[in-house]
């Protein structure tokens, strides 16, 4: 009895030593883990894919015009709101608040912009299918810029005629048109829109679409920057010494991220997103109207006159595959939101589509508990992680930030 206890003790000590060796020194990864870790590195990000729907997407003159427009508060109903009011360049182009404030308050959280040129779907629910069609939404939203397409066209004619002409051709004469007119918005704006001729509406829509295309050309230059995680993944892939690149706790977190946590089911590839929509049981934000996520976005993106298949798109008939073969129905789209990129996530509290979770600790706890969804069905299952494991997972998320920098300055 006593002898067997001693033997047992020795065995236990050996096993524990083996365990701590694995977790505390450089871990031994299986081939599958090594492959998965390599696939998350920024070095595997392909070159920026062309946007066939935007002919000026890679034109530097368009990007310069777009940059100016991004910061211009004249593109608003009160002269005080620009894209940059909510997308702050020194904060990863987001604002760090649960809900954004423009002319009013939005029902969702501001999203960062770096790398969105890779996104087939824009917004938390993917109700737009390009950067340029996305940019048109906030301009006409009453709670964001609160302007309208005709007012935008007037601003272009008055303040940007030369730059605009260099990229898109001359601005047509708009001097006879009302100040405000749009198929959306106030009764007055809609009445003026109804009074316009088909040709006048088309001229305004075209300027409006071009404003979006110039802004998109600027946004295409905003890209994620390499992080400590990428340095580790690249060294691991190259077979170089990885000592000291990540702390033992961060490595343990990485092991959980690609393993027990199942995070790479949705946060995969070099942008740490599968660009798809999932119900993860995030609680409804109190005080806001019901939000069904992706399921309601399908009809919106199909009806958007500025989508990839529309007349203002530069795409050819064989482009727009994402829109044409979009998953259009199913219970799994109810309260499904886009998996956000996790690059830079540590500096972007609060989290989720309406900032429901205030800290990363709350986020990893959410995944551990996998609460039932307020509507639809959560894809998550409880993870049974210990406090130490949750802390490690959180520490790992910190390695996805640029060393010593908070923004993604273009």
């Amino acid at each position: 009895m006593r002898a067997s206890l001693v033997v047992g003790g020795v065995l236990a000590a050996t096993a524990l030593a083996g365990w701590s060796w694995f977790t505390l020194s450089s871990p031994v990864w299986s081939p599958a883990e090594t492959k998965l870790i390599a696939s998350l590195s920024l070095s595997t990000l392909p070159p920026l894919p062309p946007d066939p729907s935007n002919a000026v997407g890679d034109d530097p003159a368009a990007a310069a015009l777009g940059r100016a427009l991004f910061f211009d508060t004249r593109l608003s109903g009160n002269g005080q709101v620009a894209c940059a009011s909510c997308h702050l360049p020194d904060k990863q182009f987001q604002d760090g608040t649960p809900l954004a404030s423009g002319m009013g308050q939005t029902n969702r959280r501001t999203m960062p912009i770096a790398g969105t040129a890779y996104n087939p779907w824009l917004f938390w629910d993917g109700r737009r299918d390009s950067q340029w069609s996305q940019a048109l939404g906030p301009l006409e939203s009453a709670v964001e810029h609160g302007t309208d397409r005709t007012q935008v066209a007037h601003v272009i004619a008055a303040a940007y005629a030369v730059d605009y002409e260099a990229v898109f051709g001359a601005v047509p004469d708009l001097s006879n048109l009302a100040e405000h007119a749009s198929p959306l918005g106030s009764d007055a704006a809609r009445a003026s829109w109804a009074a316009l001729s088909e040709a006048e509406r088309d001229a305004i829509n075209r300027i409006f679409a071009n404003v979006g295309k110039a802004i998109a050309a600027f946004e295409r230059t905003i890209l994620p920057q390499p992080t400590r995680f990428d340095a580790y993944a690249d060294a691991l892939t190259a077979g170089h010494d990885t000592t000291g690149l990540l702390t033992p706790t961060e490595l343990e977190g990485l092991r959980l991220f690609v393993g027990k946590g199942e995070c790479t089911k949705c946060h995969n590839g070099p942008l740490l997103t599968d660009q798809h929509f999932h119900n993860t049981g995030v609680p409804a934000a109190p005080g806001l109207p019901a939000d069904s996520g992706r399921i309601d976005a399908i009809a919106q993106v199909l009806a958007d006159p500025f989508n990839c298949l529309g007349i203002y798109s530069d795409a050819g008939p064989t482009d727009c595959a994402e829109l044409r073969y979009m998953d259009r129905e199913g219970h799994d789209l109810v309260r499904a939101y886009k998996s956000p990129s996790l690059r830079g996530v540590t500096e972007r509290a609060p989290f989720m589509h309406a900032g429901q979770l205030g800290t990363l600790a709350a986020v990893v706890r959410h995944y551990n508990e996998a609460p039932a969804a307020p509507a639809g069905h959560s894809e998550l299952e409880p993870l049974a992680m210990s406090e130490a494991e949750l802390a490690a997972l959180e520490a790992f998320l910190g390695t996805l930030s640029e060393a010593g920098s908070e923004g993604n300055q273009p």
Binding site: M1, L11, A12, E33, P120, G259, K265, R324, Y325
Partner: protein, 152 residues
């Protein structure tokens, strides 16, 4: 697990197993995400349909199959004797058996290329791992379907 060890006289004797078990369980949990497809999985891109009416072949546009891109593939269908099946009605579906979800897109057969070959557009795989593709074929001989396994 060492199930073959002799029955213990005292529960304390099993104490040494604790850390071993913990490591075992930990290792198992890691495997959940990286779960390889079952080792006996048939990864052949040519499969007979369930009732043996047809034989389908998937022709991916690139190998290895990329994750996260919209893909256009060709599908070839023949009768059991190898004769190309022309003018058939094809549909494509699929998903991830280990995660219980379907494809992230709705792929469609967009063109009958002739000679029993068909173009499929809009396929997309949004994560690495084991995927299945179900090809349904309708023609004079009847409706039948084949399942293909892919490991991405």
């Amino acid at each position: 697990m060492p199930k073959s060890s002799p029955a213990p006289k005292s529960p304390l004797r099993l104490l040494w197993l604790l850390p071993v078990l913990l490591i075992g369980v930990g290792g198992f949990k890691v495997a959940a995400m990286l779960q390889p497809p079952p080792s006996d999985l048939d990864l052949s891109l040519t499969q007979a349909t369930e009732q043996g009416l047809y034989i389908g072949t998937l022709e991916p546009s690139a190998s290895p199959i990329p994750v996260g891109q919209i893909l256009t593939w060709t599908v070839a269908v023949t009768l059991p004797d190898g004769q190309p099946l022309e003018h058939a009605d094809l549909s494509i579906d699929g998903g991830m058996p280990q995660h219980g979800h379907g494809l992230p897109t709705e792929p469609q057969v967009t063109e009958d290329l002739g000679g029993g070959r068909y173009r499929v557009e809009g396929l997309k795989f949004n994560m690495p791992g084991w995927w299945t593709i179900k090809l349904s074929v309708s023609a004079a001989a009847g409706t039948d379907s084949a399942t293909f396994n892919l490991s991405l």
